[in-house]
Symmetry: C2
Subunit: 125 residues, 2 copies
DNA sequence: CTGCATCCGACCGGATACTG
DNA sequence: CAGTATCCGGTCGGATGCAG
């Protein structure tokens, strides 16, 4: 409840004390091992197909990727586009406008990750 | 590789295309169900003891909290302080300066979470 | 190609009991 | 209080096979 002096404006003490709850809400949707990685991969490439996506998100299995994509689609982060006119069927995934609202989150996370890696290399904890 | 126009300065296209890797590095350390929540709880309160922490991070079991704290200590996010002069032993946990570098990450995540919750309430996806 | 169904082992983590 | 040890059920997820 105290200790909010670490955070400067425009984040008030009141907002600060609610960050746990809000972060929980965020992690509920984009938490987990793969969600953010998939969202990023989809943002960096335009339309992208299942197998290509699996190649980019290194280490993920088809089954897990499939489930994650369903989740992400339900939550409005991903659009699934089926090109039915062809055989075999071509399916493309594309990130939605709503996933763009994660821009700041992804920015700060990648910034921190980059800095952290540098720290690790220099100091050894 | 393209599509980086969504991101404005000072984040160049080159940095953008590396965000997947950097975010992976970040998630490797602060990813998972509990890590960030614990870090936030420790930042919001000053020194804090094990059971109190378990109460604040709702839903976590003693075993998991214990393991997570070891992890966080190894990675320099948490300091463990033992007050040996008393019996029973009093142990306090406190967040380190390094965990303050996560400020921006936590900010953006909680901001997003707050907005997302509002969106969910209004539109129903 | 794009997945889903099934099998099955690994491991995550809850409950409980116990120690210092 | 601050954890640890053990047990054990549930889930996660890899491998494989199959379908559209």
């Amino acid at each position: 409840m105290e200790k909010c002096t670490d955070f400067e404006e425009p984040f008030t003490a009141q907002r600060c004390s609610q960050s746990l709850s809000s972060v929980e809400d965020a992690l509920y949707v984009i938490g987990g091992k793969w969600k953010l990685k998939i969202i990023i991969a989809l943002q960096e490439h335009g339309n992208i197909r299942f197998n290509e996506l699996q190649r980019i998100v290194a280490g993920i299995s088809a089954r897990v990727l499939s489930n994650e994509l369903k989740d992400l689609e339900l939550n409005g982060f991903v659009k699934r586009i089926v090109h039915a006119e062809q055989t075999p069927v071509v399916v493309e995934y594309i990130s939605t406008d709503y996933s763009k609202t994660l821009k700041t989150v992804i920015m700060s996370l990648s910034e921190w990750g980059r800095t952290h890696k540098r720290n690790i290399r220099e100091d050894v904890f």
